[in-house]
């Protein structure tokens, strides 16, 4: 049911972990529904220099978090804000229809982390 790409990111997820004193942290989803994604960002001069994630959820939730971290690493904050769930799905060579919401969560988690960074910066 999953593409090889999804299985690859699920079985060897990239960028798993936490960043101490992260510049931005975003957490979306809830345990009730069975998905939580937490993304940590290290940002220098508005460029994402490091990114890590922690995810509680199904295979698609783990794979979308993993690929989303790859897609935004090295990008500017402005570029990363343009990440869409559609782009996440495409990079994974597709997701089963009932798993599309996982890609939405991945997009939301990235945006929540960037918004957290922007809020901190503004303070």
């Amino acid at each position: 049911m999953y593409s090889d790409k999804v299985m690859d990111h699920f079985s060897s997820p990239r960028n798993v972990g936490e960043i101490e004193n992260a510049d931005g942290v975003g957490e979306v989803g809830n345990a009730h529904c069975g998905d939580i994604m937490k993304i940590y960002l290290k940002i220098d001069n508005d460029v994402i220099t490091d990114v890590k994630f922690k995810t509680y959820g199904c295979g698609a939730a783990i794979a979308t978090s993993s690929i989303a971290t790859e897609m935004i690493k090295g990008k500017t904050v402005e570029e990363a804000m343009k990440l869409t769930n559609k782009a996440v799905v495409e990079s994974l060579d597709g997701l089963p229809p009932q798993k599309i919401h996982c890609s939405v969560l991945a997009e939301e988690a990235v945006k929540a982390a960037i918004e957290d960074y922007q809020k901190k910066k503004a303070q």
Binding site: M7, F10, S11, P13, V16, E18, E27, A31, H32, C33, G34, D35, I36, M37, K38, K54, T55, Y56, G57, C58, G59, A60, A61, I62, Q98, K99
Partner: protein
């Protein structure tokens, strides 16, 4: 990956070789239609009668009380709808439970849309139904009580005789879905006052697509499938002859090997449960510690989700199942796990391992070696585990 361990026998079993060998001639040389007058038909009819005898004998019924169907779900539909429609003039109330198989629950929900009234009884933390709750739910218009013999997810075995007796005292029909219980529990429908009982071939090393409903003589029930006089006019359609031959042989073997098989499986199950509970922290056993099917182990691992656990186990060659929302294809986790009082986030982390004839002690050892590592790896990835790991719990 060389190792392949199947621990999903509650989902389905393979067909036993001996069973298959009895079935095979009925695809080719014995192909006649059992309704035909000629010898081709008569020859097959005789063998269907033998299969019927075998099923009847296994559950203490009379052969003429066994009706073959296309599986457990059809048997459940026939029992519930058949009795509901036939007894509408007496009443429109049905009692069942919150942990029934969807074949019963969704049939009841359909009947509700048609004007029937249904009481869905709750269960305790082990998944047990209190017979007194059944008694209290009975009303003047109650026509049917349907309670499963043993639960397919958590393996809890219900006090069926007590519930059946309450039904009998109140002159209400009693049906039990025994799909998971056949071959794992000794059943005698006459001694236990069971009016109807559903079973399915592929849960006890018989073929898929064939089941049976026992209907006690005298039960008022209408057919739900029309178009022929097969099965004494209660189930139209040309018989699935090889399937029927198969289910007959399979049920006979299941009870011939009953003690030997179940003693061995119980030992493996207990070793598995003990090992998992010892090796994996933050784990709970679902279902009753003793009153459970000999092949069933069901756990919830906190902080992780069931589908990712299943995928990881599968990569290590282990086949199990889960009641998480993601593995069920719906948004909700298993109705059974919610009914025993588990919060959603715990229910999402469930794993059912159901043992069978092929499993060995080495298989259990392998699971006990691989499973704790996988759970730990997923927990290390889970934001829910951070507080625990940091010693905050």
């Amino acid at each position: 990956m060389s190792k392949r361990i199947y621990m999903d026998h509650a989902a389905t079993t393979y067909v036993n070789k001996e069973v298959l060998n009895e079935m095979l001639p009925f695809f080719t040389e014995h192909f006649g239609n059992p309704s035909s007058v000629h010898q081709f038909g008569r020859d097959v009819k005789k063998n269907i009668d033998l299969a019927r005898d075998r099923v009847a004998k296994a559950i203490g019924a009379l052969p003429e009380e066994i009706y073959f169907t296309a599986g457990g779900s059809e048997a459940d539909n026939l029992a519930v709808k058949g009795v509901a429609y036939a007894n509408k003039s007496k009443g429109n109330h049905i009692i069942t439970s919150k942990i029934e198989h969807p074949a019963v629950i969704e049939t009841c929900e359909q009947l509700e849309k048609e004007g029937f009234e249904v009481t869905y009884l709750g269960v305790d933390q082990y998944g047990l139904i209190n017979p007194e709750d059944v008694r209290k739910a009975i009303k003047e218009n109650t026509i049917l009580i349907s309670i499963m013999y043993a639960n397919n997810e958590i393996g809890t075995i219900q006090p069926i005789t007590e519930i059946a007796n309450i039904a009998k005292e109140n002159k209400i029909y009693f049906h039990t879905d025994a799909v998971q219980a056949i071959g794992s529990v000794r059943i005698n429908v006459k001694e236990q006052n069971i009016d109807m009982l559903s079973l399915a071939g592929h849960k006890f090393y018989g073929p898929k697509g064939v089941g049976a409903l026992y209907i006690r003589k005298g039960v008022k029930l209408v057919s739900i499938l029309h178009g022929g006089s097969q099965e004494r006019k209660r189930r139209a359609g040309t018989e699935n002859v090889p399937g029927i031959i198969g289910i007959g042989k399979a049920i006979e073997l299941a009870y011939q090997k009953f003690d030997e098989h179940n003693n061995r499986i119980t030992m493996l199950r207990d070793k598995l449960i003990k090992g998992v509970m010892e090796k994996v922290p933050y784990t709970r056993l679902n279902g009753h510690p003793e009153r459970r099917l000999p092949n069933n182990a069901n756990f919830c691992f906190e902080f992780i989700e069931g589908e990712s656990l299943l995928l990881n186990l599968d990569m290590k060659g282990i086949a199990g199942s889960s009641g998480s929302a993601c593995s069920s294809g719906s948004l909700e986790p298993s109705h059974v796990l919610l009914a025993i009082g588990l919060p959603h986030e715990i229910a999402h982390g469930s794993l059912r391992l159901s043992l069978g004839e092929v499993n060995t002690e080495e298989d259990v050892d392998y699971v006990l070696q691989v499973l704790p590592e996988i759970v730990d790896r997923l927990r290390q990835m889970s934001p829910l585990y951070e507080n625990v790991k940091g010693g905050k719990q």
